[in-house]
Subunit: 205 residues, 2 copies
């Protein structure tokens, strides 16, 4: 059985949701970042990056959300989480997920994790002040250029939807009004109704 | 024929190299960022993000390096740039590329592009001072945990190698001594000998 390491409300939510949507058999193991459970020798032996998500599979450990989402979709092809045999459509899905990982999640991280990239308190404060602006700019691009609707890729639910919803849940805390983005707002409403979301939400308050 | 938009020395080098290794038929179009060619209406209609790389294919435009690399490898399967029919190996390749895109490239970007995440000159200076430390930490993880050798995935050259080399070329300018990382240093030497690298290097001085 696969084991997913997660922390509540982190980006591991996307992988957790994909496992659930795929009907995978897995155990979800919660790490408490406040007590440093992600930095123990035991966990660093699993994921030397000290981050989540990490998924232990029968072949070995996997990390990084875009990689995990495609992996789950490929191992459970009957889930229909990615189109089969269409390199261009897969690339569009990957393009979207890569933007979330390397631009949107990174913009969000500057609100509380400025210490990754700077040393001074004044820099952390500056980054925190700017986070609402950068997150708003990211979601303006998503709204205007990337969501076909109702799902990210149009009529078909894919791994992009699990990942977008994960990050959209951070918007209110980042000082961004989701009502500025009607397609995203509708997407969040549709996502909240999915049984897989309702099942795992209690673990990600 | 595909069209690749690039700027010299940018991360578009990885996609450029993959096209070359795959034997693709393509036109490479240079954008001069200093004169704002990436922000013209014409280019923003191609890539609203105003970044490179962007690849015009017969199906539409693709962006984001991890997505482009898998796409090229899948469209040219005879290139052997990714393993066929092995979801776990593909996921390991994607895990590596995703780490480069969302952690290593981002660490590098703080040297000169702090304005993406902050507003004050003091913050930009702080980020610039820290960039050598964060890039060193990234490459320590790559050296110790991620490169099997001689190539990233072991005996077989993959898209990971094109991407790693792209970013390794930035190390000296980032104040990191590649000699601290013997596997990476050897990787750079092997890469520099490849005909595809030698062919495109004049466009990426």
């Amino acid at each position: 059985m696969m084991k997913l390491y997660f922390s509540p409300g982190s980006c591991a939510f996307a992988t957790h949701l994909a496992l659930e949507e795929a009907g995978a058999s897995y155990e979800a193991i919660k790490l408490n970042f406040k007590t440093g459970e992600h930095l123990t020798d035991e966990y660093l032996a699993i994921n030397p990056k000290g981050r989540v998500p990490a998924l232990i599979t029968s072949h070995g450990v996997l990390t990084e959300t875009p990689a995990l989402l495609v992996y789950i979709a490929q191992v459970f092809p009957e889930s229909g989480l990615i189109p089969q045999g269409n390199p261009f459509l897969l690339a569009k899905i990957q393009e979207f997920n890569s933007f979330l990982a390397s631009t949107v999640h990174v913009a969000h991280a500057h609100k509380l994790r400025g210490h990754r990239w700077a040393d001074e308190q004044s820099s952390f404060d500056d980054m925190k002040r700017k986070a609402p602006e950068t997150m708003h700019a990211c979601y303006k691009l998503i709204e205007e250029e990337m969501i076909d609707g109702p799902w990210v890729m149009g009529e078909t639910y894919t791994i992009c939807d699990a990942y977008l919803y994960t990050i959209s849940r951070w918007l209110a805390g980042d000082g961004v009004a989701v009502s500025d983005f009607p397609k995203v707002e509708n997407h969040m409403k549709l996502m909240a109704k999915r049984p897989a979301v309702q099942k795992i939400l209690p673990l990600h308050p």
